[in-house]
Amino acid sequence: MPQFPTAATLRPLLGHRLVIVSGKGGTGKTSVAAALALAGASAGKRVLVAEVGRDEHLPRVLAPGSPPVGYAGRELRPRLSAMRIDPYAALGEYLGLQLRVRSAVELVLRNRAFRQLMDASPGWRELITLGKVWHLEQMRDAQGAPRFDLLVVDAPATGHGISFLDVPRVVVSAVRSGPLRRNAELVEEMIADQNRTLLLPVALAEELPARETVELVAKVRGELRIALDRIVVNALTARPFPPGLEELDAQLARIPPEPGWPNLPLPRVVAACAAHLRSRYELNRVYVAEIARATGLPVVPLPFLPSGIRGLEDLRRLGEPLLATHVAEAA
């Protein structure tokens, strides 16, 4: 029987070098990645947060109004840099390092047939993206210290997010020898290093995201070698009524429609609003408990922010509970 970490033994999130934030679309994964990066920078760490994909979302939340950061990346706030890992840009950089001849790299990248081949080929985007992460992790400053104390990667949505981490292993098992295999081995080693790397899944306490999270944890334990010690459950509806008044909505529903009251919506509207909040709250509780039970992992609860992430203040509201090391087993 494997020992799952309990609430008391959770390592501080900021103690890892590389945190890969994963989750299904709509779970608020990008906000969690941004909140973690901001919290790390506020704690004095040199942080790089990287997103993967066609569109950029991080600059908008971390430094509203700032232009795209692109592959080159930029320091958005003190100690906090952001970049978007574009697979073709990473491929160009990689080929440059391998071939050492700029004109050869240009020839390859501009070749139409090569683009067609790459557009349809599986796996390389994931591998090159992770290769870039490895490269960033290896970077050292003039004093020989790591260039970044914390790397936060906003992984592609789950499903894709798992195969993303799976690719180096597939390459290692499918390719017998050669530089590709050696590079994949380095990436795999980084991912599997429990002291460096942590997978941080972000879930919602609803049926489908909860199920996906449980499946992700099972798959990670079965096939991937990557540390996983907690589940972030985002957007939880706050307890709607104080203790002792749990049935308030039912009591409100008993109020007769007549004579009504001044300055308030109809009694049944008041009751319906209360009932709605309570049902969301209870639905969340059911699935938080389910995630904790099915995975055996501590759950880090994050509050629902009704107006979404509008700025740094909202990110800080997520950052504080995110860094908590003492969390309830089932919130």
Partner: protein, 393 residues
């Protein structure tokens, strides 16, 4: 829209596409059509409710008495099916492989084993292929498709072409028939540069990898004619008169942003868009907008007194009516602010849809997860309820 042959639901992950697809299918059945709902990755309990809990990769009928319990008693029927991507792709190989030997070669190839479900766009390709296959069957009037959750929702349209471009590409041709290609095109400049690219690729990736890739491609190449014809017809069907696309969105600012981006891309791709559905919108009980004075917190003492009195009367002695009244007012205010933030978030999308002449629907958030046909039926009712239209105006 439900008189079309194909109705495709597109949108980012997590917006409830499967539920909406099921609701559209149910509504089609209610209107007397023989509907099939094709889903990719339904929530377990919804799958169970639709009778597709097991991976059959074949349509399953919703029993007539189940439909009758929902008031569907006409000639309409409802089938549901969960797509098994890996199996669909294997089926494709089965169908198009030139010979049993080729088929075995493909199934045994290590690259195929590892990547057949990750081969660029294979999920999207399999889904669309299945739609095409089913559309040729006479037993369904309408097929409602829940498209794969992909980062770029157009993948399902572009995937077949990308697969073909791949097989056609000169690099692949070189990998497959180096001697033949050299003899035929050897004197041409682009061919020389392709050769050069291949050499560089070999230096970077290693010979073993190229060898494995070449074996895989060789086995696949024979199938490309079959693929090509199929892909052309799938595309023609989806972009043609017989199809309609519905864009599903979530009510958050982020969700609406994604949807707007997608809307532009779908339009640019020439997709026959019919409408936009925003799912799980928090709406004010009984319709309309939350009264402004609630949000502003005005008239609090009078409202509190009234609530307190009503609760004391209903709940009797010993009930902490003052505390309950404060909690009730707080709940009212909280919910009102949620309704307002959703309303504000979706307003630009609504304007966008109307400017494009698309239909627009809001589906109110259900108080619990939709995991049975009753729930699906409620969503369907919201989809056809024109009152939603008037209220949101």
């Amino acid at each position: 829209m439900l008189h079309k042959r194909i109705v495709a639901c597109v949108g980012s992950g997590g917006v409830g596409k499967t539920t909406l697809a099921a609701a559209l299918g149910l509504e089609a059945a209610r209107r007397g059509r023989r509907a099939l709902v094709l889903t990719i990755d339904p929530a377990r309990r919804l799958a169970d409710a639709l009778g597709i809990g097991a991976l059959g990769n074949q349509p399953e009928a919703i029993p007539a008495d189940t439909l009758a319990a929902l008031g569907i008693t006409g000639r309409g029927t409802l089938h549901a099916m969960m797509l098994d991507i890996k199996r669909s792709f294997d089926d494709l190989v089965e169908r198009f492989a030139e010979s049993p030997e080729t088929r075995e070669l493909i199934f045994k190839n290590r690259i195929y084993q590892h990547v057949s479900d990750a081969l660029a766009g294979s999920a999207e390709y399999s889904a669309m292929e299945k739609v095409f296959e089913l559309s040729e069957r006479p037993e369904y009037d309408v097929i409602v498709v829940d498209t794969p959750p992909s980062q770029h929702a157009l993948d399902f349209l572009e995937a077949p072409q990308r697969l073909l471009d791949f097989l056609d590409s000169r690099l692949v041709q070189l990998l497959l028939h180096p001697a033949f290609a050299a003899g035929r095109f050897g004197f041409r400049l682009f061919q020389r540069s392709a050769q050069r690219v291949l050499q560089l690729l070999e230096r970077v990736s290693g010979f073993a990898f190229l060898e494995e890739l070449s074996e895989f491609l060789l086995a696949f190449e024979g199938m490309s004619e079959g693929f090509r014809e199929r892909a052309r017809r799938v595309r023609a069907l989806l972009l043609g008169e017989e199809s309609a696309f519905v864009l599903a969105a979530g009510p958050s600012v982020e969700g609406v942003g994604h949807a707007a981006l997608l809307l532009t891309r779908l339009e640019a791709a020439g997709v026959p868009l019919a409408g936009v559905i925003v799912n799980r919108v928090r709406t004010w009980p009984g319709g309309g907008e939350p009264p402004a004075r609630i949000a502003e917190g005005a008239e609090e003492p009078a409202a509190l007194r009234a609530l307190e009195q009503a609760l004391a009367t209903c709940c009797g002695v010993g009930y902490p009516a003052p505390e309950a009244a404060r909690a009730a007012l707080a709940a009212l205010r909280t919910y009102a602010s949620l309704v307002r933030s959703d309303t504000e978030a979706i307003a630009p999308l609504r304007a966008n849809a109307q400017a494009r002449g698309l239909f627009w629907r809001r589906v109110p958030e259900q108080s619990r997860d939709v995991h049975d046909l009753e729930g699906v039926s409620r969503v369907a009712a919201a989809l056809v309820d024109p009152a939603e239209e008037i209220r949101s105006g």
